[in-house]
Symmetry: C2
Subunit: 255 residues, 2 copies
């Protein structure tokens, strides 16, 4: 165990830099902040490259040391510096960044969520967490969406990245792959001319696409789907939050 007390230490600088996508890609690591996520990683059998904790927290959980390749005792100030959380729990871990561009296992089965330029990290993370709860198999994030392993997305996912398959990629290709396999792909549209979401009853394998918070799905993708769905709104509200819509749709489609 190494003790670190300065935020100018190279390790501390590196942990802080893991909040940037560039440094995550460069190193192949990302940071888990807090007990829930660290425990989820251990439970999932994910390798803990570096376990970082305040003296108090490390003392109380010596059993974790067996799972970690290196352990660092740091000050509460360092913890706050690297996690960017108002009241950090005093524990964090550096783990492998999954290869989101790997070739998925064929044939594609199960329920999948595709995200088309969803930009709010909280929305992306909440949708991954909800997909997990709805029994989805995977989530594919298209270009120009919030990065799956940024600090805010990781916080909102609450460990669901260990339960389902996550990919980044070209949604046009993913849609074509599903359709080639005979699986329906449902777009979503704020348009009463689209299909009422209560009228579709897919089998076990399908994909659902959610679009950008302000603009919705791109025209290009809307024309590539099997069907586009609409949630009929009865009040005077003009729209639903994208993560709320996703929750309603996922629990309806994957019964």
């Amino acid at each position: 165990m190494e003790e670190l007390t300065s935020i100018h230490n190279q390790h501390v600088k590196d942990w802080k830099k893991l909040s940037t996508k560039k440094f995550r890609k460069q190193t192949g690591y990302y940071l888990l902040d807090g007990w829930h996520l660290v425990n989820e990683a251990v439970h999932a059998g994910v390798a803990i490259h570096q376990l970082i904790g305040t003296a108090d927290q490390l003392d109380e959980h010596r059993e974790l040391f067996d799972d970690a390749k290196a352990v660092y005792a740091v000050t509460p100030e360092i913890m706050k510096h690297i996690t960017d959380t108002v009241t950090p729990q005093g524990i964090a871990a550096v783990v492998d960044l999954p290869d989101a561009h790997r070739v998925p296992t064929q044939p594609l089965t199960g329920a999948w969520l595709f995200l088309d330029r969803v930009q709010d990290p909280g929305n992306v993370g909440t949708m991954v967490r909800t997909a997990d709860a709805a029994g989805f198999t995977g989530v594919v994030v298209g270009h120009r969406s919030a990065d799956l392993f940024g600090p805010k997305v990781v916080r909102s996912m609450q460990g669901s990245q260990f339960h389902l398959q996550l990919f980044e990629g070209d949604l046009t290709k993913w849609i074509a792959d599903f359709k080639e396999n005979g699986a329906p792909v449902y777009g979503t549209q704020l348009n009463p001319q689209a299909k009422n979401f209560r009228d579709v009853h897919p089998g076990k394998t399908f994909a659902l696409i959610m679009g950008n918070e302000g603009q919705g799905m791109s025209q290009e993708l809307l024309t590539a789907t099997s069907d586009n769905l609409y949630i009929p709104m009865r009040g005077e509200a003009e729209s639903l939050n994208v993560a709320i819509s996703a929750g309603i749709l996922m629990f309806q489609l994957n019964q």
Copy 2:
């Protein structure tokens, strides 16, 4: 039209103080920030006591002046100071705080959402917005929940406060009132022994209760309901965000 350039002006101080519940109660006013909310208020026929804008914004929308009792041209700095938004649109309005403790019209009909100690303002606002979209009649916020007219709740409601009835009150009494009228009241519980939400089909009048983010509903209220509902989760996720759960339940119950 009065021009204000100092953040030390008494009006500016008062607008800033409207971000506190105490001052809202004391004055009977709250603040709407941005075009969408100001337009919703005008559309709903709500009196605009004070219209506050940057010179640019006021110039472009002189038609609004007829609806406002007083108009103030302010600097972008003042706008930022009073709205606490990173990039304010340059328009705000002071309107009447609804009396959330008024006696509701009897008999109570339609679908209602009750919030039991929901503390995150974004969750409260998003649930009000979703209730509106799901065609609900009203929302009742119990004690120790985020205040309905705080800045973050108002931002998340996106104008839905003008479309449905909002109350604050003792949920025990509200539950008793509904049950006396023969209307079911559904609690929610993270407990697979509770009733599957897909198995209830209420009529037009019912209430749904959502609980605190961490602790769920209070034991006292759970024993006072007609039935408690559960959303079966198929993945390994342990829970859903409360606003997501509310969305799934409201769109299921109020078809």
